[in-house]
Each structure stands twice: as structure tokens, then as C-alpha cells.
Subunit: 176 residues, 4 copies
DNA sequence: TATGAATGAGGGTTCATTCAT
DNA sequence: CATGAATGAACCCTCATTCAT
């Protein structure tokens, strides 16, 4: 059922009726409500699920020997994950509910992971100094909600520009 | 009335009731419906209005002697314009209606203007070559929909990173 | 519309669907909700309306030259009024909402009127001394919710017994 | 399970979910439905059970040497029994189901018992002549549904007034 | 036999749209 | 032309009942 809900949110955004989610899952509306007492509870469950996966993937890269690549790959992969899902993107943008409540706890600490990856990438000289974790988060959310979230090519190009923007100064020769 | 609608969308998002828009405009709900037969027509009118202003501003910069500055300022100003309006940002993201229908005609040809500014900036060496107008559009829309569209600081920092990303290669020394 | 709602509550009790009330009133469900934002607001409006009438009638008797008759007639009339209406009787019995909030203010002070009438009747020797206004209220509510509230004869006989019970001791000769 | 249902109805009224009853009984909802195919069947079973107990108690008093006391005690005890249960009181008031079907058969012939006790009390001069068994029934049901069925003091005072009303004429001196 | 997940009709409420005034 | 009351479809949620395990 979570899969059906994810697909429904992905296809129609957060405003998809419960009825439609139920239809996709091949169950009655009551069954959806039974598992997730409110629609918000359903969003939250999905967002937590997705964030968990993102955090796991991020944590796996934390010890990478190439912190720059680890960071940039994490950025792109995560954007892809969320961009493919209209509802998740809406949710991430804080469209009317409390992300803090959703994403608390170690298993959902995207910011923590992101901070680790960023710091390591900066120490390795792959990302310029002034950048903060909140900047990265803002950019990630922005990319997730680009106009054609289904258009992977457009997304890849956006991410490439942003990556260049993050990398830039460290690559600039010192005498410049 | 357009102003009231913009304010209402900005304050409460796309889901603001027509009744609230009418209240803010000091008119009856019927009057709103008379001018804009459906709610979608109202969005579209607002978007057209905003885009018109953006296009005007862009056209004014088309002849600038500093194409790089013209381009980057246009980028930032436009993002600010749309980001300030939650509802428009949602609408722009394609919340179920046809952007092409909205933005056709010379007065709304944001892509044309953007193309001009981009080409000139590229010719002047301010923006690197591989960038296409669709990339710029995607990045602009993305910036409008960062997590806290009301947070001007976050937005400015995003735009700065992206600007670096667009500029990058031209600044990079040739021997690099 | 109030009339239709009163009739609907009278016929089917508090649990009558809004849809049924709307049907009786010959309007859409939205129209009912428009006038009374929640179902509870509708109960309250009806109860207030009815209580107002009761209070008016009671106040008119307050100056009667025959306090005993005034009191007993008020008792019976009020019981008839509410007994004829299942919903009002439910409401009176406090079936799940706050009567105090409903019946505050001079226009709805049933207890005050009842107290006046009772005291005067007691002073006139028509009602025995130990009786308190809360007893009267309890008895009234009880009568309203007898099993056959539509059966006027049964109600009249109940009221007669209660009246005797209230009168009794004052009629008993002092030497008894 | 009957006990759990009684407690649940008492605590939350007739609208208590079956699920809650099942929870209190420590069984599954299916088990409740198995024993009582519909919710109404459950009410009826409870009412029958209670009425059986009342009838038994009444029958025991039928042969009392003090028919007046027997009658009045039966009246008060029975009211207490039902008043303690909000849901049953509602049900008794005819909240949409057929009391006749419920209370038929010798084991549930509350009217018969009441008639016996009443007749004997009248013959003994403890209750005045004009009173009929239906009056008693109506008064009993009414008392069960006073405004605060949980308020034993209010109930006791109501019963006292009614008892006086029933007794009245026998106590009134003949010359009055 | 006992279970409780699944069902889906039905509840109250909201709101875009219509239309008589 | 402006109005806002009326509409009723659509939403989310509850819950009595069913049935596979």
C-alpha cells in the first residue's frame, strides 16, 4: 500500500484523494485510513520511509575515500529520488506540514549526513569554503521542485551547474 | 483585484478560497467569478501579469552594455519576484495546468527574452558556452520553489552558487 | 430553515443527518452548513430559540395573581413544548454538548424564571417547602424524555402525579 | 462480554464503537459480531438481561407483607438500575427500536410485575386509586433519563416527589 | 471458534461556481 | 454590473459488518 501511495503522490501531488490511493492499491478507502489514520500520517510515513533510504545511502558514503565524489553523487542521487515524486517534493518544500516532526531522530537526520559529507568534501578541497549545509539543503529542495521533475535530463543539467557553482572557487588557481 | 488575489495566494497558497480573495479585494465572490470564470483563469491571469512585468524588465536590459550583469541581475530579480508568491510558485511548478497556453504571445515570451540575455552574456564571455536557455529556465523555477520562499537570504545564497556555476568556466584559467 | 430543522430533530432525534434536514427545508446541504457552520451550531440555535420562547412565557406568568397555577401551568406547558421535540429533549438532557454555553444570558435563563415561579408558588402555599429549583429542572427534563414523548395523555398524567407530589404537603392539614 | 458492553455504553453512550466494546471485553470485534449479529441485537440482549433481573427482583417482592414499601422500593431500585447506564437509558427511550419485541415473554414481563405490585399497593391504601400501570412505567422511564443520570441525589429527590404524588390522596385526610 | 484486516456506505464540512435580485 | 445566498460534488474520516485465516 505504501508503494501505491508513493505512486499516487508521485503522479498527482499531495492533493491526490485518498480514494485514488486506495484505488491504486486495490483496496477500500477504509483500509488506507485504517493503516494511516489521517492523510497527513500517510505523507509522514512515506516521507520518513524515503528519508530513511536517503540517510542510509548517505551514511554509506560517509567513509568514502573520495569525499568530493561522495558528496556530489549523494546530491544528485537524492535529488533524483525526490524529484521523481511530486508529493515528496511538495512535502519537502514544507507544503503545509511540519518537517521537523517528521524528520527527527537519527534515522532521518538528513541534515546531519549532509553536514558530514559537506565538511569532508570541503576538507578535501572539492567544495569551496563559504558553503553551509543549509545552502545545500535549499539547493536540493529547489532541484527537486524544478518545473519538469520528470525530465531527468533537465535535472542532470541543473545539478551539473550547481555542482560547478559549489566547486568553482576551490578549483580556481590561487594566484587568480 | 489581481493585487488582492496575488496577496491571498502569497499568504495562503493556491488553496486559498475564492471567498478570501473576494474579501481582500472588497468585492463579492460573484464579482471575482465574473472577471475570471474559473479559478484557473485567475491563476493564469496573475501569472500572465507577472510574466509581462518580467518580460518588460528583461527587454529593458537587452540592450545593456554589460550583458553579464544584465543577465545575472535579471535572473535574481525574477526569482525574487516569483519566490515572493507562494501560490504562483506552486502554479509555476505545473500544479496541473498548461504553462504553454499561459505564456504564449510576444508579451509573455519569457523564454525569448531569457534567450537574448543568455546569448549576449555568453558572447561577452560572462556565461559559459554549454548552457542552454532551458537550463536557465529550470534553474529559475527551481530557485522560486526553495524550501523557504520567504527567506530572502537563503534565496540569495542559492542564486550566488548557481551564478558561479554558470560563470565558472569563463573564469577558469585556460591552462587549468 | 429553522422550522425544518426543528421538525427533523423532532421526528428523528439529534442524530438526524444534515442531508435530511436540508431535504425537509428544500435546500442543499451546503445551505444548511452556510447558515450554521456545524451541526452543533444548529442544535444550539434551535435550543436557544425554544428556550427563549419558554423564558418569555414564564416571565409573563411571573406577575400572576395565582402563583400556584402560574407555576404548574408553566411546568406543564414547558414539558409539552420540549417533549414534542425529540432532539430538544436529547439536547436538554445534555446529550453531548454544553448546555451552559447555550443557555446563558438573561434571555435564556430558564433556571432564573423557574426559581421565581417556584419561590412565589411556595410563598403562596401552593408548593411545599423543601423543593428546590434543581428538583424542578430535573423533573421537567425527565418528563420531556418519557418513553412516549408524543403521547400527550401519558405526559399529562405524569405531570399530574408530579404536581401532586410537589403540592402534597402544603395541602396536608397542619395537625396531620 | 455483556458486562463489558454495559460498561462501555454506560461510559460513552449508545454511540460507543463496537471496537471499544470488544477492547473492553478483551476479544476481537468479530467475536462480538458473532454473538450479536448486529449492534441492535447487542442492545436488545443487554436490555433483556437487565429487565430479567428487574423482573426477578420485582417478583420476589410480590408476596411482601408491606405492599406499599414493596412497590416504592421496587420503583426506586429499578430507576437506579437503569439510570446508571446512559446507553440503556437512551435505548429505553425508544432510540429507534422496538421495545415490545424486546420485553415480551414471561421472563421480561415488567409490566405484569409492575401491575401486581401496583394493584397490591393500591389495595393496601399506599397508592391512590386512579393510577395505572402505564403511568408508573412512564414515570420510571422518565426518571431514568433525568438530566444527570449519574447524579444519585437528584434522582432520589425526583423519586421522592413522585412517590408523594402517587401516595398523595391516601394520605390526604378524608374531609379535605 | 476466534480473530482483526478489509470493506464501503454514510457522516459532516468545504468551496468553486451559478444565478436571482 | 455587482452581489452573496444557494448549490451539490468532493473531500476526509468513522465504523458496523464481513470473511479469510
Amino acid at each position: 500500500m505504501l508503494e501505491a501511495a508513493i505512486a499516487a503522490f508521485a503522479a498527482e501531488g499531495l492533493s491526490v484523494p485518498i480514494h485514488e490511493i486506495a484505488r491504486r492499491a486495490g483496496v477500500g478507502t477504509g483500509t488506507v485510513s485504517r493503516h494511516f489514520p489521517t492523510k497527513e500520517a500517510l505523507y509522514i510515513a512515506i516521507v520518513r520511509d524515503r528519508i530513511e533510504r536517503v540517510v542510509e545511502r548517505g551514511r554509506a558514503r560517509t567513509a568514502s575515500e573520495d569525499p568530493g565524489t561522495a558528496f556530489f553523487e549523494f546530491f544528485e542521487t537524492t535529488v533524483d529520488e525526490f524529484a521523481a515524486n511530486l508529493g515528496l517534493a511538495d512535502a519537502l518544500a514544507g507544503a503545509g506540514f511540519d518537517m521537523h516532526a517528521v524528520a527527527s531522530g537519527a534515522k532521518h537526520d538528513v541534515i546531519g549526513i549532509l553536514g558530514d559529507l559537506l565538511t569532508r568534501a570541503q576538507k578535501a578541497g572539492a567544495v569551496r569554503k563559504g558553503i553551509e549545509v543549509d545552502d545545500i539543503k535549499a539547493l536540493m529542495v529547489a532541484c527537486c521542485r524544478g518545473p519538469q521533475s520528470a525530465d531527468a535530463r533537465a535535472r542532470r543539467r541543473m545539478v551539473e551547474v550547481i555542482s560547478q557553482g559549489l566547486r568553482t572557487e576551490t578549483r580556481r588557481p590561487t594566484r587568480s
